[in-house]
């Protein structure tokens, strides 16, 4: 595990309180310290959702910009990282959604209205990234990225971030049961995709 992710989820809350208070007073240095402290975790969260570094960088920056602009509304009842994480996740979802509509959903201008396919995130990665990741892991990543953004985020939070359902429910503001359903649904879809691909491979071979 990376250093950032090996940290306890609510670490350094007391240290953060001073930085947050200073940032609320307009102290940019304090806010910069918060950015430095959480940038990697926020960046990784964005990377896990968006699936590529370019989008992750945009989302992470936007997350902190939003946090700065609205830090006055942060009442400290939750962990600062939880708050940042929520912003990051929702910004990522909106980012994916807007990209899906505008860029990744390539549709004929004269076509009928209706749902269209999505250019999946794996296509965003460079071949070098794929080589580094490896074939089997690439396949796993590809399949996870083929999930809908919401299912993908929920699965990532549950499996990669290993957050409890309760915490995921707080982040995504849905009931715990919904979180559980989404995780199961994501796994089911992964299983179906794997089965479909296996069958297709057997038929062609």
């Amino acid at each position: 595990l990376s250093k950032a992710q090996s940290l306890p989820y609510s670490a350094s809350m007391s240290d953060d309180a001073e930085l947050i208070a200073a940032a609320k007073r307009g102290d940019r240095k304090a806010f910069s310290d918060l950015v430095v402290k959480y940038q990697r975790r926020v960046y990784l969260a964005a990377l896990h959702v968006t699936g590529n570094h370019s989008d992750a960088d945009d989302v992470a920056q936007e997350t902190f910009v939003k946090a700065y602009r609205h830090i006055g509304g942060f009442d400290g009842r939750s962990d600062i990282f939880t708050w940042l994480y929520r912003i990051a996740v929702n910004t990522s979802l909106n980012h994916l959604r807007s990209q899906k509509r505008a860029d990744r959903l390539v549709r004929d201008p004269d076509g009928d209205e209706g749902p269209v396919g999505e250019r999946l995130d794996p296509a965003q990665r460079s071949p070098r990234e794929w080589v580094e990741i490896g074939d089997r892991l690439r396949q796993v990543l590809e399949q996870v990225c083929e999930l809908s953004p919401v299912l993908r985020v929920t699965l990532v939070l549950a499996t990669v971030e290993q957050l409890p359902y309760k915490r995921i429910a707080e982040i995504m503001e849905v009931p715990e049961g919904t979180v559980a359903w989404r995780v199961n649904e994501a796994r089911r879809q992964l299983r179906d995709r794997m089965t479909t691909e296996e069958q297709a491979g057997e038929e062609t071979s």
Binding site: K24, E113, R119
Partner: protein, 459 residues
Amino acid sequence: MKHPDPPSDRDIQEAFRALDGTIPDGHLDDFSSRVLARLDEPEVSGMDSRELARGSGLSRPGEAALGAAAAPTEANVTPQREENSGLHEIKALASTTRRRISQRVSSEAEKEESLLVGASSGSFRAAAALPDPAAAAEPASVRIGRPVMVRPASEVDRRPMPARSSSVPFWVLGGVATAAAAAAVAVFVFGVGREKADQELASSPSKGDVVARATGTQEPASEGALAADDPASGDMKFAQPPPTDPAAAAPGAAPAASATSSPTVAVLAEPEKKAEDRGGDEGGAKGGGGLVGRSGDGKDSAADKNDPARERRDASKESEKESKKAKPQQGKGAAGEGGQDLNDVLDEVTGGIKSPAAPVEQEGPKKPSKKGLDRSDVAKAMGAVRSQVMRCRDKEQFEGTVTVKFHVAPSGAVTSAEATGGKAGSSTGACVAAAVKKAKFPPFDGASTSFTYPFLLAE
């Protein structure tokens, strides 16, 4: 290389850890400075507001949490603008255009996703901006829920949509009320007519026999009677079916419509009226057709035999029989004829009001369950042919992206596929396109749909 089992949690963790390891060295070194630089950019603020507006407008968190269908409503947008640059406005237009495009998407999966994403956006609003409205100390330039931004007029014009939606129940209620009133009138008229008919029956056993036989033997007739009582079809505006185009009526209404213009009815109508004028004891004879003819057998009084109208009726009956023989059967044999008879009786007592087409029968065939293809369908179909696509990589020794444009027919078959972009016309593109053409989609309702899908051919 295939992974035989679905990825386990550990597989997923390893994959994402590997992804984490692809962060370029030093990529985050100047991250904080980049963030701080963006804090001063007014354009960033505008984008931020737009993002927040989207978040605040897409859903109501409570409804989203309950899984209710949160109707997307536009954010409360004030026509203020934080900056006056044209670039800002163009970006706002582009953003709203994306949403307009997205709101045309109408599959179940897309709806679900929109709701879910909307819920997330709503949660962002609550999380990032309004954890405690009373305690919120937002910057003066940004108000959540009333973001400072510019929206194009086209989008502003869409905002009354909820009002239009809210007016729908009014019209529905109005229609229901009208239909109910019409039904009540129809029932009343029908009841009066029945009373009248009963009175006539009391004095005319032959006619009573006609009604009894017609009602008791004819399913279509019963349906017609029910249709007359149907509140939804009781609107008097539609009580007179258009005589010009019987085919345009619903299938169930065809017998009634045809009865209106059939020579049988034309022959029957006049004697019936005359019978009414006389006090109505001629029903058995006037009914016409085999059914009515049977009802009259052996029940004609002696007075009838001396009735000068009897001769005309007999002549009518004969001509009617001939015309029925010549006329194509529009109903189902005797049932259809009986239905016409009952309709005639009803017409007599209701003043010629015909039963409108039964709305249930106008609904048409059931719609297919799938209205279109959604992303999961595309992903599944493309996933199924991915192994074939990857063989193109091995065969062509090519690594990169190949974009394929293909059309999917409502049957689910790919009707055409061709590579676009840089690999258009190449052997690699043709190979990938051929693989895509083998993809199978689930059947859906609607027109053929085209997609463009990129495949990354890489190790």
